[in-house]
Symmetry: C2
Subunit: 347 residues, 2 copies
């Protein structure tokens, strides 16, 4: 039997609170019977939901708190007033070893601020990053940073590569995943100094815990030519949102086109099996969950407005990240990496 993997759940996070969190957990438990849960929040509301899922109830512990971080709270407010909240306690469960991973649909800024305060950045890390799973024509890749910070210097970009590689190892079971540095195709423009410097370091340093592919451009992310795409958080967040928007736009175009004539409508009806496959493949709930990397513990941020199916995807992600000794391996990788880069620059 597999060792249990415990997920701490912020049951009050997101737009829908316990109803989505509990039924999402129930879906994940069917896929991964080794899961168990600690749920933080309004005990009565959580237990009410758990009554519909006896198998889940048997593998869940509920910790009551009245305090909740609101979706519109600013990070600074959340830090001042949020101690003892469901968000705080669920992160703290990872810090004190009660849980392997925390999943919350609460607001991103507050969740990052609290995660930094409670879990603390890893010794070698200047900045944590948020990593997103990105569907590709082949399977999936990891893109980071998608918005933890704006801007990144060469050292931080290089660290993102090591962090993304650790995540890829856990999720994709690849020992030496490939890394691309997101760049623009225009040559000899000013201002890319840090991206160029990171490129030079990664190209010249030997014994990296990943294969460095070189530069990639925005249209290559979805082609799946690398396992990890590294970019600073402003451009990364804009790329992620733009891809989501474009996918929705294409869906709209498709629906419009199929409604134009009777033969198109009839054809679309006949092809509904194909359209169902397409819809599932494009369903943004399938890849829900931003992973905070670079802290002494894993926080998964679910979309705030998602439903149970989407929240279950975030828990699934947490499950896969929980089983791999990722933090210990990452700490060792980072230490070796910084030593090698130091030698590479000195040499």
């Amino acid at each position: 039997m597999q060792a249990p993997r415990t997920i701490a759940l912020d049951a009050m996070g997101g737009d829908h609170g316990p109803s989505v969190v509990v039924s999402g957990a129930a879906q994940s438990l069917i896929r991964y019977p080794a899961l168990d849960f600690v749920l933080f929040g309004d005990q009565a509301a959580i237990k009410e939901q758990l009554r519909s899922y006896p198998d889940l109830a048997a593998r869940s512990r509920v910790v009551h708190t009245d305090s909740v971080v609101a979706m519109h709270d600013k990070p600074s407010q959340a830090l001042r007033r949020g101690k003892g909240s469901s968000m705080w306690l669920s992160i703290d469960a990872v810090a004190n070893g009660e849980a392997h991973v925390v999943v919350s649909a609460g607001n991103t800024g507050a969740l990052m601020a609290m995660s930094k305060l409670i879990l603390r950045p890893m010794a070698a890390i200047e900045r944590p990053a948020i990593a997103a799973l990105w569907p590709t024509v082949k399977s999936e890749c990891i893109v980071l940073d998608v918005g933890a910070n704006i801007g990144a210097d060469a050292r931080q970009l290089s660290d993102f590569a090591v962090m993304g590689a650790a995540m890829a190892r856990a999720l994709f079971q690849i020992e030496r995943p490939s890394v691309g540095l997101l760049n623009v195709g225009v040559e000899e423009v000013k201002g890319m100094d840090e991206v160029k410097k990171a490129h030079a370091w990664l190209k010249e340093t030997e014994g990296l815990p990943f294969r460095y592919h070189g530069f990639v451009e925005g249209d290559q992310i979805g082609q799946g030519i690398v396992d990890i795409v590294v970019v600073e958080g402003f451009a990364g967040n804009i790329a992620l949102k733009t891809a989501e928007g474009t996918a929705r736009q294409m869906g709209q175009y498709l629906r419009d086109a199929m409604r134009r004539t009777w033969t198109s409508r009839l054809g679309a009806l006949l092809a509904r099996g194909g359209f169902k496959i397409l819809r599932e493949r494009m369903d943004p709930r399938r890849v829900n969950g931003g992973t905070f990397l670079g802290l002494n513990g894993i926080t998964i941020k679910s979309h705030g407005g998602t439903d149970a199916l989407g929240f279950a995807s975030a828990i699934d992600l947490g499950y896969e990240m929980a089983g791999s000794g990722l933090i210990e391996r990452l700490a060792a990788d980072l230490e070796a990496f910084h030593r090698r880069i130091g030698e590479s620059i000195a040499g």
Copy 2:
């Protein structure tokens, strides 16, 4: 009868040279009979192509040169060795008033460097920008900068708004188009100072030559909620490429899904009219052409690998930009804008 609008064509630019350039011009001339052309490049090759299009030949002047800027030439090389090349001469035709607009499928870096040298930045402009047309669910919007420069301060971002508005006025016939500033949703993160400062300026300044909408996020570009989206060039280029890649990826998903079963294939066959509409709507050749703004003359950059249909789109864009006294109006707008922003900051 309409006054002629003269386009200077770099007949040797792009992967295919005169064959694509000439047949693209022939397509545009059918749509816009007021067009005429000056073509720069290998006279024999151009005249050979023109023989197939007598109507176009009657409205074209050919200027011979042996010198060509190669697709892989660096901007600095192109500037050193490119004087007298087809690219150089076609830009020069705008500078000396022989043509209203220049269209080239040559390499972006060389084209920008030469355009800056020959056309010169407008007096009030620190940095030119490249503006792209972006298809939306409603129609189209303009996004700039998509890669002329990396990074932009508040002043430069504000200038992009004024430049985009001038272009929107010419293309969309809207007197006061709407402008959004591309941003990320995460609050209280560091490093967005210049974006925030530009936001404050645009919000507080009265009498702008556009309506300032506020911040927009990446997934809102394709929704068409604003006419112009302003962003610095690194994130803008990545957003554009990412959207192109995602559209292709969705097309691939759709084809895969329709091939799965016999009923899907049959349905897709029946719905082929709808799929044809969809394909046309998603065709990247329909919106080919990056516009260099902020110089004393308009340069349009076509994709290097496009075909005649795509090159014709770039010429169509040049036609619409040529007829509007855009440069004069933009110069006046910029002067008024800088005065108002100065007052707004002082006041």
